[in-house]
């Protein structure tokens, strides 16, 4: 393709860094001359300019508009990133979150002036407890892994309370990748449990690892193979008999909402990703929210603060003074991700119980549609039916010279965000796809047709196409190795 003099291709514009746009002296706003500075810093004040670029207002507007046009997200295309649940976020959630009475309040306001906000937190907590069947909840965790941290800190507090020094946490290979990190961050040692040929926890291996030093088991259900851990009741019983607690990673709760009550599975603690299951925005740094439901055994150890209500209205409990509570501590400033609670509650209320149940059912249906339609062109890792995500491995690429990475890059040229690659580790060259309930049948069919076409081209020996991909993007394949080995973390003039 011929290069243009500007480096632009049509309206796909090259955009420099904002510091490279610097035109000294230009300014979008006329500011009055500052008053003379009285030195109160004892000579420590900055002597030179701070290096902000000189920019006109239209330059700034164009810069950020162009960057926003380069952004790819769930609002622009199908984003089947496995285990991340990139689904449509209904705009009614955004409308309600922007209501001035909810958007313009401050956490330091007297509680008498924010009774509605406290009621909203309490109501969100109520519905999450109702859906899971769990008696207690900690609303403050600000992300999924933060919820894991909350659950493990709660378990640690409960163990310390009974004078128990258990330190080992069992984590199956089919669990989420953050689980071992969370356990280690809380001071536990991590002991992996292998998966069976069915992609589920090896129950015999699990039982063999149980003992008086096991603090907890961290199970992801449905697991990262997109499969329901169908021996979960026996697993729960085994860990409880050994005196440990049962942590369930609820990142995949979106597959079972309204179908399974978590409390019925024998779970002691589970975090819920509001930014996955309850359709609040995520990706690009959040904010997320990971409210964590707790069993009666762990409830006294929940972190503060908590919203309670009595005949005088709603109030915040910020200090452990009340009877029986032995909170594990405080996890973040203020009272949780309030703006995310608004969106999650808006979603729950607008969907209703029947709608939430339908959403989880449709998510599972979409994934099974992918699994069935792609089974002859790609290689499914495990026999279906699956839950909300379909897992394939790279056996269908064997001998073609094409890797999972190459395949994913070619998907970008087809106009799709790639699925999750190389995770879970229990299969070779994993391709983990989560279509979610918000992709239509038409959208899924286009995705399937593209993947079938790519698989066919790989089979027919067209490896060059894959090695070159992506070719239709503003940048071609990046040197990820060099980026990791010699990262350039700061722009310099």
């Amino acid at each position: 393709m011929a290069e243009t003099a500007s480096g632009n291709r049509g309206l796909m514009l090259e955009e420099p860094l904002i510091f490279e746009l610097d035109s000294p002296g230009q300014c979008g706003v006329d500011l009055p001359e500052p008053p003379p500075v009285i030195d109160r810093l004892g000579g420590l004040e900055r002597p030179g300019p701070i290096g902000l670029p000189g920019l006109s207002e239209p330059t700034v507007v164009r810069h950020y508009t162009r960057l926003s046009q380069k952004n790819v997200g769930i609002d622009s295309l199908m984003y089947p990133l496995g285990s991340c649940t990139m689904k449509h976020n209904p705009r009614i959630n955004e409308k309600l979150a922007r209501l001035p009475g909810l958007a313009d309040i401050h956490p330091f306001q007297p509680t008498s002036t924010v009774q509605g906000a406290l009621e909203l937190i309490d109501l969100t907590a109520h519905w999450l407890k109702t859906l899971t069947g769990m008696p207690a909840i900690a609303m403050s965790p600000a992300a999924g892994a933060h919820g894991e941290f909350c659950g493990l800190m709660t378990i640690r507090a409960a163990l310390e309370d009974r004078g128990d020094k258990r330190l080992r946490v069992l984590v199956p290979e089919s669990a989420h990748g953050t689980n071992p990190a969370s356990a280690a961050a809380c001071g536990f040692t991590v002991d992996p449990i292998p998966a069976t040929a069915r992609g589920r926890v090896d129950l015999a291996a699990l039982k063999a690892k149980l003992g008086g030093d096991v603090a907890a088991l961290m199970l992801t259900n449905p697991n990262t193979c997109g499969l329901f851990e169908d021996e979960i009741l026996e697993i729960a019983e085994a860990i409880h008999q050994a005196g440990g607690y049962f942590y369930c990673d609820g990142a995949n709760y979106n597959a079972i909402v309204g179908r399974v009550r978590v409390a019925d599975l024998g779970v002691d603690v589970m975090h819920i990703n509001l930014h996955k299951t309850f359709s609040t925005p995520h990706g690009g740094g959040g904010p997320g929210a990971g409210p964590t439901v707790l069993s009666a055994a762990l409830a006294p150890f929940a972190p503060l603060p908590a919203v309670v209500h009595d005949d005088k209205g709603f109030r915040l409990v910020e200090h452990a003074g009340h009877s029986g509570a032995k909170p594990c501590g405080r996890l973040k400033g203020y009272h949780g991700q309030f703006g995310v609670f608004v969106r999650a509650l808006a979603y729950m209320m607008s969907m209703g119980a029947d709608g939430l149940r339908q959403a989880s059912s449709d998510a599972v249906l979409s994934a099974n549609y992918l699994l069935a339609e792609l089974s002859s062109d790609l290689t499914p890792s495990f026999a279906g039916p699956c839950m909300h995500e379909a897992l394939f491995d790279d056996r269908f690429l064997k001998g073609s010279g094409v890797t999972t990475l190459d395949f994913a890059k070619a998907m970008i040229d087809e106009g799709f965000h790639p699925m999750t690659m190389y995770f879970p580790l229990v299969v070779h060259g994993a391709l983990l796809m989560e279509p979610t309930e918000t992709e239509s049948r038409d959208s899924l069919d286009r995705f399937i047709a593209s993947l079938r076409s790519l698989a066919g081209r790989a089979r027919s020996g067209d490896a060059a196409l894959f090695k070159a991909a992506p070719v239709f993007t503003p940048r071609r394949r990046l040197d990820e190795t060099a980026a990791a080995r010699t990262p350039v973390l700061r722009w310099r003039r």
């Binding site: 995770f423 580790l425 080995r485």
Partner: protein, 125 residues
């Protein structure tokens, strides 16, 4: 008689007297892809057989390196921390991870020799 032994977790140990040199196998570096980060144990640290002694990270995944046997760390290979790419170039020779003083040479029995390891890898294909 070869003094090199292999684990099912794809580490090798080359034994000379009571000192063992440990690294990851060529198969392991190939499966990992481009290695971008290596973390080595502290000198003098006591490691137990089959427990985590080092960490290796590639563009695809982060993995633990398990010590094939128990012992005290007597040397680490700082060159692979500086240049992780050496692990891809010379996994079974100059890109060793650490040396340890064997606590119990009897732990070597049960590890695989080269032929058995090659057979093991073939079974994974």
């Amino acid at each position: 008689m070869s003094n090199t032994y292999f684990t099912t977790e794809h580490e090798w140990i080359d034994v000379d007297g009571d000192i063992g040199t440990v690294g990851i196998t060529d198969h392991a570096q190939h499966a990992l892809g481009d290695v971008v980060f290596v973390e080595l144990p502290a000198l003098g640290k006591r490691v137990a057989k089959a427990t985590e002694a080092a960490v290796v990270e590639s563009v695809k995944a982060a993995s633990e390196v398990f010590s094939p046997v128990s012992g005290d760390i007597v040397a680490v290979n700082d060159a692979i921390v500086e240049q992780p790419g050496l692990v891809n170039e010379a996994a079974e020779t100059t890109a060793w991870f650490f040396k340890l003083r064997l606590a119990d040479p009897a732990e070597l029995t049960g590890l695989m020799d080269r032929a058995a390891y090659d057979e093991f890898v073939k079974g994974l294909e």
